[in-house]
């Protein structure tokens, strides 16, 4: 005794090799046409650059964290620099004052006073010609 399904499938069993061939061809085509998954650029970068050297990147990251922490912990750091640059002429004056005091104390080097150049009175044109060397 057989079920109708068993009878039907047994009748067409001879077609099995041809069906296998059809199936293999289609599956082979499917395997060829299956698109290679496109890895996003960021993921590719992560895999090729970050993953092979985890320690190095962890150190760099830690350094940046320390730098960022320091920057946050010093409020108005950039303002201080700006203020200092604004008072630069005062600092220079102070430095000059200190230098003067030092030279006075040591007494080795006298402060040089610039002597004004002697004013030469204008001479007649004929005199100037006489000075021109000839020969």
């Amino acid at each position: 005794m057989k079920t109708p399904k068993e009878i039907l499938l047994a009748k067409h069993q001879a077609a099995q090799p041809k069906l296998d061939e059809v199936r293999r061809e289609i599956v082979a085509d499917l395997a060829r046409s299956t698109p290679v998954p496109v890895i996003p650029f960021v993921l590719k970068l992560w895999r090729e650059l970050i993953l092979p050297r985890p320690r190095a990147w962890a150190t760099v990251a830690a350094l940046w964290v320390v730098i960022a922490g320091l920057k946050i912990s010093t409020p108005g750091g950039s303002h201080v620099v700006a203020q200092k640059s604004l008072t630069a002429p005062e600092v220079l004056a102070e430095v000059r004052q200190q230098k003067r005091l030092f030279t006075e104390l040591v007494g080795v080097v006298k402060p040089q006073v610039a002597t004004p150049t002697k004013a030469v009175p204008p001479q007649p044109r004929s005199d100037r010609r006489a000075r021109i060397p000839i020969g």
Binding site: K2, P4, A31
Partner: protein
Amino acid sequence: MLVVAEREQLPVAAARAGSPAAWDALFQRYQLPLYAYVFELIRHEQTALDVVQETFISAARHLASLRDDDRFGSWLFSIAHRKCVDHWRKSGREEPLEPEIAAALPDELSDPSEVLIQREQEAEFMKLIEQLPPPQRSVLLLHFVEDFSLEEIAGITGAQLGTVKSRMHYAKLALRKMMEENVR
């Protein structure tokens, strides 16, 4: 006692993800029942093989349109059925699977596995299948080959549920008659 048929686990999700191995398993599972169904409708070996091939290619292209993975089998047979109808249309034959007017019939449907055919009746059974009008043949084959429910058969053939019940009723009457005559 209520018996719930356990659905077989098919790698439909993997096939949707593009796994060739999953497609191979699915095609291997359905190739022979599908061919048997198509051949019994078309009655031409090479055409039946072509229809099976086209059905598989179409399934691979349009799997995204399948919403319920559990219905993969009936979805695959519906593709094959449409291709058979297309074949008839192209060959210029009269549409053999046109809808019939549904008759008011009882909707009892015995389990296909409950129908047992004796060895000496096998040839008669196949002869009966061949002699049935294509609409009834289609319904009976789908019921026997894959144990599809009436609703699934209606979905596959694109016919109304009442029409499917009517076709099934007449097909089973013919089958019963054959078996009774053999007993005598």
